[in-house]
Amino acid sequence: MTEPKIKFDQVTKRYGPLTVLDALSLDIAPGELVTIIGPSGSGKTTVLRVLMTLETIEEGTIYIDGEPFNMMRSGDRLVPASKAHIRRIRAKIGMVFQSFNLFPHMTALGNCIEAPIHSLGLAKRDAVKRAEELLDMVGLADKRDHYPSQLSGGQQQRVAIARTLAMQPEILLFDEPTSALDPEMVGEVLQVIRQLAAAHSYTMLLVTHQMGFAREVSDRVCFFDGGKFLEEGPPQELLGAPKNERAKQFLSKVLEAT
């Protein structure tokens, strides 16, 4: 078996007495698209947030390309990772947020060149060229000089995707990318994600409530509740005929609503 791109090994995250991730383990292969579904407030977003280092974990190890991420090797022991180590590996990961989190004081283009210039060290010309290509890819070439407040939600999220891709990540995390959107704008964002999934050049982790979309694009779906993955499998199987009792309940409620 090839080395997993992402590996969670017994990862535990607690908020005070509340255990959000309970000795969670997960392997994701390079190029795989894994969707995490589960009840609201179950903490499935936390899986992405600890991977992006927006949250620290109490126990366990996360590996990227076989290399420890939250920890680092020192001789034959693992010690807590230094800032430089985390920054180096974090460069492989990009994240798209539910609420876009675009920088409101920068144009669409400005959002897409800030980090490539100052974090990757690209020359401004190259960064602009690449950002323009990406804005074109998400269908917003004509909006490059618009500020986020002048864009619709769907357009803002597409800029946010372009901004993430501009950092040339290998791993893409999507945290409920369409949950904050008006229904008529969901399609345009899903279309962009569909395009990225079809290319298979990224390893992708998606948290979503769009079951139809999850079924269509995922290689694997994981049902998350109570800090653990209770069931995982190919989308047809898990979404069509779940075995776990909680997954069954959840899916029957969700599918009823749509």
Partner: protein
């Protein structure tokens, strides 16, 4: 009360006008010092290490909790005791700057806290360094609420400069007191000093409005 125009033009104005630049200099330098020290205090105050943030908070409380005049006297009379002899104007600028830095630190802190958490998270996800995150993302967004508050402190410092007359700094108030006691006439000198303060306050307030407008246009669109 009688008003002597002759006295006003022959004595008061020629002696007060040349001191205006000293008042302006004291204000501007104190304000710049307050901004720089305030930014530093804010960074210490918001440090993730409690060993740093708690003492910084105490220092801010101490500075805010004692009268400016007491602090000025403290610097003026006690620094020479430990062998630091500074010119009165420098002591005054130091005192005004330190006092206002504590106030500015709180303004900065409030401005930074007002920036949504998602902005920090996006900066982190884009692997920006702490320096870049502050410089390009957080500080620009914290400016719109900060600038009007800082403007008030600028005008506040300006109106506090007469306290420097207690340190024998040759600013406006000090000069008008001297005229008063020399000629036994206070009416013209004190009135003109007040008028100067009013005019400069209005000009400063106008400049602050302009800065607010500029920042809002640049940041909020």
């Amino acid at each position: 009360m009688d008003w002597d125009w002759q006295f006003t033009f022959d004595v008061v104005l020629p002696r007060l006008l040349p001191v205006v630049p000293i008042t302006i200099q004291a204000t501007v330098l104190s304000f710049l010092l307050a901004l720089a020290l305030g930014l530093g205090l804010m960074l210490l105050r918001t440090s993730s290490s409690r060993l740093v943030s708690i003492p910084a908070g105490e220092v801010i409380e101490f500075i805010r909790g004692t009268p400016l005049l007491v602090q000025l006297f403290f610097l003026f009379f006690l620094l020479p005791e430990v062998g630091i002899v500074l010119p009165p104007l420098t002591t005054g600028i130091l005192g005004l700057g330190i006092y206002n830095s504590a106030l500015c630190a709180e303004v900065f802190r409030a401005g930074i806290l007002a920036v949504p958490a998602g902005q920090w998270e996006a900066a982190k996800a884009l692997n920006l360094s702490a320096y870049r995150t502050y410089r390009d993302i957080i500080i620009p967004q914290s400016l719109p609420p900060i600038v009007p508050a800082l403007g008030n402190y600028l005008i506040g410092i300006f109106k506090e400069t007469p306290l420097l007359s207690f340190l024998a700094v040759a600013e406006l108030m000090h000069a008008s007191k001297l005229i008063g006691s020399e000629y036994y006439r206070f009416t013209e000198a004190v009135t003109i000093a007040g008028a100067f303060f009013l005019i400069m306050s209005l000009v400063a307030a106008g400049l602050v409005r302009l800065a607010e407008f500029y920042v809002r246009k640049r940041i909020l669109h």
